[in-house]
Symmetry: C2
């Protein structure tokens, strides 16, 4: 495997994640070619100097790079893998930035042996989508999950680790199943809670519009994720369904306990339950 | 009613809220006397120049002020009202910073007619408690709810509005019942969701400690309120029980809908449900 500064990249998808990666990576590699169905996304990334060339179509120049990074919502990654496979040169490395890894890594496992592949998921993001909100510092200090396949070579893993370090993140190696189970609790569940909170508040606000005037910083932070891009989140929910349903059930079990403690006025047990959450949250400074 | 710069205040409770109020108010009034059971809280506020004098006991100097502000958790406010009432001089104004208003305003309504009273609740806070974390800018740009009683005079309301403007906040006049119903959804429900989320994650992390390594900014923000001071929150839950149980039920109803949409893979309905939350959250920039 070549060193980072000798490598030509293609990034497919120049939204927030793809364009931020291009911006962070550009100073460290030989070239980046960008692909996005939206011509404005391509010309914006080019005007910023984040990509050397770009196209709205997936033609030859895009598929000639040494490394191809799929930076779209998960279900688009799955269909892109089908689309690009017949055109890849031997030795090409394919990776992605998708938020769920089970289905992506399964499909990557079906690539011909001449193609190297590894799943990727940078644990960062923002609820303001689009390449115009891209930020070369988006990855700074953040974990970047790598999910190696059985066929992933050590040199490939090492290359990805050097790329991750170059953009200021740190690598976290986890298998795809564990990743999907853990993020269903740490990421997908919080998103669903935020959405349900907003819809609950909105329903009450239709009767009492003053509600929005008393919503302060606690509501703001707890509901922030509800503003995430729906296309991306829908793909996540539908490609990690079993884990998410299990996470919702665990959460619901906790909520039922809490309801009962409040309803019965069990002050001492309620105190302990809240104190447990408080200590855990303070211990895990995030 | 005197103007703000002629008024002597007593603030009972020099935790985050009481000490921040002292810090913000001191440049605008004649004097502030601070009371806190913790001698360090009193000496800290004094060393910062936020109070002119202080005591760990509720003695005569504390009760001689023109305005007495109760800045403790809600149930302590209720017992303080019982405790101070017999010692108040006619014309004293009593107010508070408590997070629920129903029980506080009801008890204020039982004060003798010679005492003016009005409920207060600044809509700001931080999950780092204590006077050492106090900040004179805590109220800047925030709403400060006022709940007038039937016996509250216009001059009292006007005085409170001038105080609120002096500390950089803006007044929001709502009756106590409406306040408690609305904040059960915008503040108490988010707190309970944050706690349940943390306890759900902690339970999974006992089996898979890697969980905390994949918890990123989404988890951090959604769970932030779980670190709130438990003593304060317990008082809130127990003095706003009916509204909170109703809010939990409404939330749970939403969560059930969501569970079903995901379980049945109803993509189009799921999309609409998430899009509704997304648009609402983006519209209510907070």
């Amino acid at each position: 495997m070549k060193s980072l500064d000798e490598v030509d990249f293609t990034i497919i998808g120049l939204g927030l994640m793809g364009a931020s990666l291009a911006a962070a990576l550009r100073p460290h590699c030989r070239s980046i070619f960008g692909v996005d169905a939206d011509p404005e996304a391509v010309s914006w990334a080019r005007s910023q100097g984040w990509i050397d060339g770009g196209d709205v179509n997936l033609d030859k120049p895009a598929l000639r790079s040494n490394v191809i990074i799929l930076a779209t919502p998960v279900r688009a990654i799955l269909s892109l893998l089908d689309q690009i496979t017949p055109h890849l040169a031997p030795g090409t490395l394919v990776t992605d930035l998708g938020s769920t890894k089970g289905e992506v890594c399964q499909k990557m496992g079906e690539l011909p042996p001449s193609i190297q592949a590894i799943g990727g998921h940078p644990l960062c993001g923002r609820e303001t989508p689009g390449g115009k909100n891209a930020d070369p510092h988006l990855f700074t200090g953040r974990a970047f999950v790598l999910c190696p396949l059985p066929s992933t070579q050590a040199a490939t893993l090492q290359f990805m680790q050097s790329m991750i370090q170059a953009i200021g993140a740190y690598p976290l190696i986890i298998d795809a199943q564990t990743h999907d189970r853990l993020v269903s609790i740490t990421s997908h569940l919080p998103y669903l809670l935020a959405c349900t909170l907003v819809n609950t508040a909105a329903s009450q606000a239709r009767l009492e519009p003053t509600l929005w005037r008393v919503a302060a910083s606690g509501f703001r932070d707890t509901s922030r994720l509800a503003a995430s891009e729906v296309t991306m989140m829908l793909d996540i929910l539908l490609t990690n369904r079993e884990n998410i349903l299990a996470a919702l059930q665990k959460f619901n079990h906790g909520l039922e306990t809490l309801f009962r403690l409040i309803e019965e006025g069990q002050e001492s047990a309620l105190h302990d339950w809240l104190e447990e959450a408080c200590e855990e949250r303070r211990r895990r400074i995030l």
